[in-house]
């Protein structure tokens, strides 16, 4: 056993440090992005969250917006798990593992964003069961920590188990892994539902206090996450000899189309309810789409985001554009951006504007926040790259516990 582990570690190390020049360039790029983030964070560490654009008026900003978006990316792994394991759709089953790895990395990114947003990150142990004092079950944030970490463990277990079985040339124990895979499906729904409830349950913020929030979050998550997958899978099949069938990509694109249709419908339902009722609570959505008293910080962004979502929907809907890789990739990119705007800053910030006492105070992320956030994206991409760099040779059979000649 010990021998096998050292052997694996040696092989994995070789995999990670060896690669074509473009791999080194990519890693170097990620290191520089992360390094810039660390530099920016050193300022936040020294001076506190005062270096961000956040204030008492708008007390959450870019970090929590990104957190919300990435919970969606993580949840979207089910859109691969369901066709792969419930419907046993071959082309997707072959690549489902890449989605599970994406979920793991997205959750790590989420945890980074939450911890970076804390005034006292060193006190994070106060949240933990047994040693800390989590306010469970009252606080939805305590629930969120539970479900996010659970999801991380589940997906880490699934991906590591499936890869190690292939690596060790053994047969997978269905009784062990299938229940975990099936559990991951409702669990994925739960992480985004709980994250929606985090906002949804606040009577103080009418803009968030809407019952269709959790369904909307799920619908938009099932657009952005799979769209990201389509792009990533194409890159993987371009740069490695891992085979991803077109049928898998087109099937995912079809599912995005349904999800985006539902997402747009739910967004329209929300907009109708706010505008037609026209109570004082309409102010936040007016701020978002048209600006309030000359404050128009998000107007350009939300119109860009929503137009991207609508255009993306049609590109996914029309079979010709869905099955053409140029238009398909355009659709994927604009949908990722569209959803990032819609449920990131476009969702979090208007909840704070106007304040519960009617004050209009705009928020603009400061450069430090932007650099720290891109640094966290860098961490996520680095983790994914390294994980996949080891996973793919296992999947393709290049990396095995002992090669035949080694046994002899």
């Amino acid at each position: 056993m010990g021998k096998k582990i050292t052997h694996f570690l040696g092989q994995a190390f070789t995999q990670v440090v060896k690669g074509p020049p473009i791999y080194y360039a990519w890693i170097l790029f990620l290191f520089s992005v992360i390094g810039t983030g660390v530099w920016a964070y050193s300022h936040q560490f020294a001076q506190g969250l005062a270096i961000t654009g956040m204030t008492d008026q708008v007390s959450w900003g870019l970090y929590i917006s990104n957190f919300t978006f990435f919970v969606g990316v993580a949840a979207a792994a089910v859109l691969l798990t369901i066709p792969a394991y419930v419907y046993d759709f071959g082309p997707i089953r072959e690549i489902a593992i890449l989605g599970e790895i994406l979920a793991v990395c997205a959750i790590v990114v989420c945890i980074f964003f939450v911890v970076l947003d804390l005034g006292h990150p060193e006190r994070v142990w106060h949240l933990l069961p047994f040693i800390g004092r989590p306010n469970f079950p009252d606080s939805i944030l305590a629930w969120d920590i539970l479900v996010l970490n659970g999801y991380l463990i589940i997906n880490l277990f699934i991906s590591v188990y499936l890869l190690s079985v292939i690596y060790l040339e053994k047969k997978e124990k269905t009784w062990l892994i299938l229940p975990v895979i099936l559990l991951s499906i409702p669990w994925a729904v739960s992480i985004h539902t709980v994250t929606a409830y985090l906002y949804n349950g606040l009577g103080a913020r009418p803009f968030w206090n809407s019952a269709i929030l959790a369904p909307r979050f799920l619908a938009s998550a099932f657009c952005s996450g799979p769209a990201l997958c389509i792009i990533i899978f194409q890159l993987i099949r371009k740069f490695t000899n891992f085979h991803v069938k077109d049928a898998a990509l087109f099937k995912i694109a079809e599912m995005i189309c349904f999800a985006m249709g539902i997402n747009l419908f739910l967004a329209a339902a929300e907009i109708f309810k706010e505008l037609y009722t026209n109570t004082w609570h309409v102010a936040s959505i007016i701020y978002l789409f048209a600006g309030l008293e000359g404050h128009t910080g998000l107007v350009k962004w939300i119109w860009t985001g929503e137009s991207f979502n609508v255009i993306g929907f049609f590109l996914f809907l029309i079979p010709k554009t869905r099955k053409n890789f140029i238009t398909l990739n355009i659709a994927c990119i604009i949908v990722v951006i569209g959803v990032w705007i819609e449920k990131g800053m476009g969702f979090v910030i208007p909840g704070f504007i106007p304040t519960p006492l009617g004050e209009i105070w705009e928020y603009t992320p400061r450069l430090y926040e932007v650099l720290i956030s891109t640094g966290v994206f860098g961490v996520g991409m680095l983790l994914y790259t390294l994980f996949v760099k080891i996973a793919i040779p296992i999947e393709t059979g290049e990396m095995r516990v002992f090669k035949k000649k080694e046994i002899l």
């Binding site: 204030t55 959450w60 939450v114 005034g119 006190r123 004092r133 606080s139 909840g351 009617g358």
Partner: protein
Amino acid sequence: MKKEHDKKLTRRTFLKTAGVAAASLAVSGCNGISEEFLQSHFREMGPDEINQTRERLEKQYKKKYGRTFHLGTEPADPGILFGYGLDLSRCIGCRRCVYACVHENNQSRMPQIQWIRVLRFKNGSRNFEESDHYYDAGMVPKEGYYTIPIQCQQCENPPCVKVCPTGATWKEPDGIVVVDYNWCIGCRYCMAACPYWARHFNFATPHVPADKLNTNLHYLGNRPRMRGVVEKCTFCIQRTRKGRYPACVEVCPVGARKFGNLLDENSEISMIIKTKRVFRLKADLNTQPKFYYFFSL
């Protein structure tokens, strides 16, 4: 030697002891840092631990500001439930309450934090979005306008307490919602949950000139805060737990602010609720504030 042997060695105390030992080794020389890092939640401290914490903090404040502080930890009186009344007929919007509160409760002067916000409305309007938060209080009252001061409403059903992921903020038996600044992780979820915008966050390191500090402190109230924690009005817990009025009540030049025990039928606040037509802010949210607005005229 203390009698340690009759104390049960729970998992938590074991982990804590081990942690303290490890941390003290790691930071030997930096006295107090490990104790502060591993400090328990205030409500879980026994009398000994409260005393040790009090002494440590008093020493720390003395070293930092060169003055002698009294850090109180007085518990709630079971016969008391604090209530507040604000007479909108009398309030002139002079903001003396705001500044008295800043002085009494050691709010940061740079950057500025204020627990009371006074909103000015045109007669005929009561829409918060039409109110002016930054009017000039030099010449008040102004013809055609009226003012509503807003601070923590000390809800009986406080959403901020419900959402706090660590239980760092809670409602005391006498009704005051307090924060343990040493337990707060600074996630600001409570600020998102509060419908009265009563919670404020130390985004930067709070600064109060040493000679301006109020040295009469309470652990759950006006003790100097650190960066990265949330703070709020505590009905001047350091005063009211000793039978005094909150600073805002004392300073109000027109007597618009009333304070007392809701459990005492004959207290001023109980009389106001019985005899005046009172209302509470955002009553539809069912937060049940113990802060009553009324019109005496």
